[in-house]
């Protein structure tokens, strides 16, 4: 069965210029294994493709069960000149949590 990132992780978004960074932290070790395997930069870029051509970089912090995604060109030209209602992209953490990860995740506790 497929699983949403929301089911296994929490997230926070920050901004610098025209770049959004979104951390994704697993609730459990099992969830971390799924995140690390399935939530690739390519998957994230696919989910954010309508907002940005990328690139997306991913940093791993296994000791915290956390991934940090740096998503460039995602903030409408930059926080200070964007026409967006949320120029900082604070709400984009919630978009990250809607990513659906593919199957073979049976046994992952929905924390």
């Amino acid at each position: 069965m497929s699983i949403r990132v929301y089911d296994i992780a929490h997230a926070r978004a920050g901004d610098k210029g025209n770049t959004s960074n979104i951390s994704v932290t697993a609730y459990s070790d099992e969830g971390w294994q799924v995140l690390r395997r399935e939530l690739t930069p390519e998957v994230v870029l696919g989910h954010f493709r309508h907002l940005t051509p990328g690139p997306v970089r991913r940093y791993e912090l296994p000791q915290l069960r956390a991934l940090n995604f740096v998503i460039e060109n995602a903030l409408g030209g930059g926080v200070t000149r964007s026409l967006a209602i949320d120029p900082h992209g604070k709400s984009l953490s919630a978009l990250m949590l809607t990513v659906v990860l593919p199957g073979h995740n049976e046994g992952v506790a929905r924390a």
Partner: protein, 450 residues
């Protein structure tokens, strides 16, 4: 002043941050120092404009309201204060506070002012500098430049306290440096002691956004609970001379501080965790771990530091035209189609008036305004708000956007309600350059001597 341990609290994490938790942490936090971070990237440009209109102004507008609430209890308890609310006029801020301190019933105090972060003249002298964002020459921004300030480090904050001051007022200082500064002063840490600089910088990074470490930006009902979010307390750090750091929050306050909140805030506005560049060191946070030490108390481990770079980062604020916007609501049967008709009507009316825009953005609030997702895939909502925003160099054209949206009340589709014209606002955008440290000459000036 050799100390074994100090406690530093955060009293504000942005210019308009909530004041009551700042008072609370002063009164109940048993602090030695309080740092208040109130300068976003572009706010200093706005304050530079204020100063151009009135040379006594140019500090953070909420300065006096905040200091009236926080300074008297802080000084009575011996809590020293550092803040960047000096913005574009640190000396003006210090004088304004002094002018009111007696009526606030403040004990006598000394105040040190950090100057020298402003580098507009340096920018004009070096049009060849490449912009960090796109590599273009700084020259293109100079005619539109509103401000230019270097992010100073913790050394100037420490020097401010070294004068014996109870209050240190700065302009642009790197946010974590407001917290590292008191540590450098209290413990005499040197700039080649990278583990300590790293721990202090990490502590500052975690604390600088106030409630974001203590349960703000976190709660998700039924999923991630935060107890008494309404009574959210601000964070504090206990720092030992050997570099050990533990973070906690105002005793008895609401909110939550644990490994989960610390992890989210660690990565907040961080790109490569192994290279978080500050004026004081390059923090390598890639191996950071958090230890639960008790209720609302977490220990920090694993931060590593590398030498500070040879450059200061400068943020250049510049005028980038005007943005006009407005909203209108629709509800009930066929609400979405009426909202879409309203959008087309506004666009056509602006076109027939001969107005054009660099960029126009249309949102359907309730469907796609935050994630810019494909509205055709959303279920049709019971109610929806249209929002139109546009950017233009022409202020009158910007003003027309919200005016046309609001006039849909009377001259748009049926049942248009709750219209708002946000008017036109001047856009102050920012870009960055790096400059050699030698080009910046910070100085500490006592406010009484002025």
């Amino acid at each position: 002043m050799a100390r074994d341990k100090i406690r530093i609290g955060c009293g504000a994490g942005f210019a308009d941050d909530r004041i009551p938790p700042g008072v609370e942490i002063v009164e109940r936090g048993e602090l030695d120092y309080l740092a208040m971070e109130c300068l976003a990237e572009r706010t200093i440009a706005r304050e530079t404009l204020d100063r151009a209109k009135d040379p006594a102004k140019g500090y953070t507008p909420v300065l006096l309201e905040r200091m009236e609430a926080i300074m008297p209890p802080a000084l009575r308890r011996g809590v020293k204060i550092v803040t960047n609310m000096g913005a574009a006029n640190p000396m003006g801020a210090a004088r304004a506070v002094r002018k009111h301190a007696a009526e606030w019933d403040c004990p006598d105090y000394t105040c040190a002012v950090v100057r020298g972060d402003e580098v507009t003249d340096v920018m004009r002298a070096h049009p060849e500098l490449p912009l960090m964002e796109d590599g273009a020459r700084l020259e293109s921004l100079l005619p539109k430049m509103a401000s230019a300030n270097a992010y100073l480090g913790a050394d100037v904050v420490a020097k401010g306290f070294a004068t014996g001051a109870e209050l240190v007022v700065t302009g642009r200082v790197a946010d974590p440096a407001l917290f590292l500064g008191p540590m450098l002063h209290a413990f005499g840490w040197s700039y080649d002691d990278y583990p300590k600089l790293a721990n202090g910088t990490l502590a500052g990074h975690l604390l600088e956004c106030s409630g974001q470490l203590t349960g703000g930006c976190f709660a998700d009902p039924g999923r991630k609970e935060v107890e008494d979010l309404a009574g959210l307390g601000y964070p504090l750090a206990d720092v030992w001379a050997d570099g050990r750091v533990e973070v906690s929050k105002t005793p008895g306050s609401g909110g939550r501080l644990d490994v989960a909140t610390c992890t989210e805030q660690l990565l907040y506005e961080m790109h490569d965790p192994s290279a978080y560049i500050t004026p004081d060191c390059v923090l390598d946070a890639s191996g950071v771990t958090f230890r639960t030490l008790g209720h609302d108390r977490v220990g920090l481990d694993g931060a590593r530091g590398k030498p500070r770079t040879a450059t200061y980062k400068v943020v250049v604020g510049y005028f980038d035209g005007y943005m006009g916007s407005g909203e209108m609501g629709f509800a009930g049967i066929n609400a979405l189609a009426r909202a879409k008709l309203g959008i087309e009507v506004v666009k056509e009316r602006l076109r027939r008036r001969g107005l054009s825009y660099e960029e126009m953005r249309v949102d359907l609030i309730g469907m796609n305004s935050l994630h810019a997702n494909d509205a055709s895939l959303c279920p049709e909502p019971y109610e929806v708000r249209l929002r139109i925003a546009a950017r233009t160099p022409d202020k009158k054209a910007a003003e027309a956007v919200g005016a046309e949206v609001r006039s849909l009340h009377m001259q748009g589709p049926t049942g248009a309600g709750g219209g708002i014209n946000f008017g036109a606002r001047q856009i102050l955008a920012v870009k960055s350059v790096l400059i050699p440290r030698e080009w910046v000459k910070p100085e500490i000036v006592m406010e009484q001597a002025a």
